[in-house]
Amino acid sequence: MLRKTFQGGVHPADGKEFARNVPYRTYLPKGDLVFPLNQHIGKPARPVVQKGDLVLAGQLLAEADGFVSANIVSSCSGKVKALENRKTVAGLSVPCIVVENDSSYTLADGVGAETDAANLTGQEILDKIKAAGIIGLGGAGFPTHVKLAPKNPQEIEYVIANGAECEPYITCDDQLMRTKGSEIVEGLKIMLRLFPNAEGVILIEENKPEAIKAMEQACVGQERVRVQAVQTKYPQGGERSIISVVAGKHLKLGMLPADAGCVVDNVATVHAIYRAVCKSEPVMERGFTVSGDGVKSPCNLMVRIGTSFSEVLLEAGGIPEGVKAKKLLCGGPMMGIALASLDVPICKNNNALTVLCTDPVEEAQKAQTACLRCGRCNQVCPLGLTPQMMAVAAEKKNYERYEKKLYGLECIACGSCTYICPAKRPLMQLFKQAKAEIMAAKRK
């Protein structure tokens, strides 16, 4: 009997109806493309082009600098306009490479060359993945070639393609699974080449029946690959939630998924692996959902990395007339980042733009009361933490207690506690601040 879910979690309204049945269309940007050098976790990439250079689509712009880092390739052809600081999603100014788009999208040599993965060794596969600049496309942005090279590949039991897509509003993975099912399975099989004793699992929430069906069909006749449908519950797509459901194991403090015998990658990442290995296509585009009640025609787009959010919103029809958008989110409403401006580029790990006409946070601030100690936050925490106590410790800036007694740094910032809180306490904000201050003190 397959496990269906993990402990804790919440059921926010999923908002998937806006875009779930809109098939992908490719959007080619008209304006300049901006490539931040720190799209991934780890050290920022080192530029290998200079201002004025002519680049082709798929050409390397910046190379991985150090062990945990990733390549960045150009997603269009044109001239390098500038290497300068630009604002990104998080609101910070970071070093970026700006490419003036010539709109011809001429491909660099070798991009698109078909390769039979069966003839490649494990190391060759990893090299191709590294060259393609693949990082965790689901949001984390961890360099994939590092993740796929654990110390003990024989001990990996499960290679999990994460198609849970538990974040409300976002439907790009759903559409990808519906339309590119066989390519995802091929990508998963390439990953299984690296892990001889592992089973491939495609994990999908039950609210995506079409995707489940498509993936099951793609798995027919394939060995070592299966689909596991799981209960629709947020944050089902979290790494720890997935591992507890698939492997029945709990990640301990400081453990990587590989230590629990698991490798978890988003289905979009798995698809990118297929394209990188079999088609020699680096990460130039990705699936992207534009959705929310403040978008005229919500849709799923195949967008170029580096495209401005504002262009993408226009492609989706913009904000309908007579509607006042209150909040623009990079990502979904649970973990997404509120944007102050749309004039920022889409990075490899950005999967959606959600435009909301109401701001529940604003309303929540008005309804805020003292903590009732009802314990609902403790019940929904997928890690079994005690947000109620953490919030008290964070408010008093008792960070010793926060970290040592309450394990506050384990928080994955899923926001379930804040969502459920009847007193509308800004728990997540307190935790983010506490974490930032603790980490800052540690660096000293």
Binding site: Q7, P12, G91, R240, S244, H250, L251, K252, L253, S310, G318, K326, K327, L328, L329, P333, M334, M335, G336, I337, A338, L339, A340, L342, D359, P360, V361, E362, E363, A367, T369, A370, C371, L372, R373, C374, G375, R376, N378, Q379, C381, L383, G384, L385, T386, Q388, M389, K405, Y407, E410, T418, Y419, I420, C421, P422, A423, K424, P426, M428, K432
Partner: protein, 513 residues
Amino acid sequence: MMNELYNVSSSPHVRNRLTTGKAMYQVILSLMPATIFGIYRFGTGAFLVIAASVLSAVLTEYLFDRITKRPGTVGDGSAVVTGLLLALCLPAYEPLYVPCLGSIFAILFVKCFFGGLGHNFMNPALAGRCFLLISFSGVVADFSLDGMSSATPLEALASGQPVDVMDAFLGVGNGVIGCSILALCIGGIYLLAVRAITYEIPLATLVSFSVFLALFGGRGLDLEFIVLHLVSGGIVMGALFMATDPVTSPVTPKGQLIFGCLIGILSGIFRVYGSAPDSASYAIIIANMAVPLIDEISVPVPFGLRKPREGKRGIPKSAIILCVITLIAGAALSSVYEMTEEQIAVQKAEAKAASYREVCPDAAEFSYDEEINGAIEALEGEVYGTDFGKAYINEVAVGVDAGGVPVGYVISATSGDGFEGNVTLSVCILTDGTVNGIAFTELNETAGMGMLCAEEAFKGQFAGVNVERFTLNKAGDSTADNEIDSVSGASTSSGAVVNAVNAALDFFGKYIK
């Protein structure tokens, strides 16, 4: 489009619909079955008590907010919950200032003074109830209906009278407004269904209470006895609505289990060894005060993170701490008891001798008659006779004058039918059968009510009367010699006295005369 200002905030950007106000509304809704049943059962009196309690709770909070210039918090509904809970724990008929005072105390002293909702360290409604129990015990513990006083199931249980479990479960017996266990359970199930409360606290409370009664209740695994205790005395009300008050209960499931067990065991101790019928109220209030400690020892180790175990798996620290606390408290109580026991025995003997001289002042000294002692021994400490309730004959002393001639017989008799347990008295019956007087050696009745039995106005009614038995006149308008006017509002206590005297008279008639 680009020039507009958008809201920026930390994630998550959506919130659940449930607010503090709605959470309170759920609790109010869950109390409706008990409220409606209470009004149906007890009529206008119940309605007035509820209205007075709720209104004064809301008004107190409103005025406090206004006077201290705080943002109004009445809208969150917590004052209504407190008022309603308090009212459901009170009898239906009482002066309306009683629920008002209880609500004001609960809101002002327990809630507002500690910082309002979320900051109070004990359940306001329960604190209000305990305040009333201490200050207005006679009124709050009087469950007379339509002028008829009869024991609540718990009192009946304590005095060994038969109790109908079904009556108590349905709430058709006597009790507080919210005495219908059925109605309370409906509300409790609703709260569990909407996840306003979790099962841990009610389950741990009721199970540990039952286990305690089975172990120490003196009746073993007597299911009827345990069920009777469960359906009476507010333990269900406490377990479902008072102990689960989120503000004053632990926040983790483990802590909630410990908390529930603490309440169950304390209620059991108070029920079995104590004299207060309100075992659950005091147990929860005490457990409330242990919540910060319980919270501290029940911080869960998060999902996946296991601290390395050193050596063998030991008993959880929390269990040890709680055991130690319990042991220390138990040892302290028993040593105090030991120390005082001897002293009490001496005092009792002196009190007895004094009462003998009081009721039989003509006697020069008291002696014992072997024949009479034999008759008492033959009773083997069993209940005396069938017409005197739970009456016992303790001893008979013969008062003799200077010449050794008997002038009267002092019979020490006990009735177990008192409001708060035993009533023991000494009756002097002269040789011709005339009652010379009575004096109490053990009377623990309600102050200002049952205790009035010791006043001359009541006990003097027995003196100088020569009848075979007395009858109690509850209306207090007696004309005949053998009628005894009940102390107003304390017919249970008065009845116990009459029973004891009648038993003594009967014993006198059968074995001494």
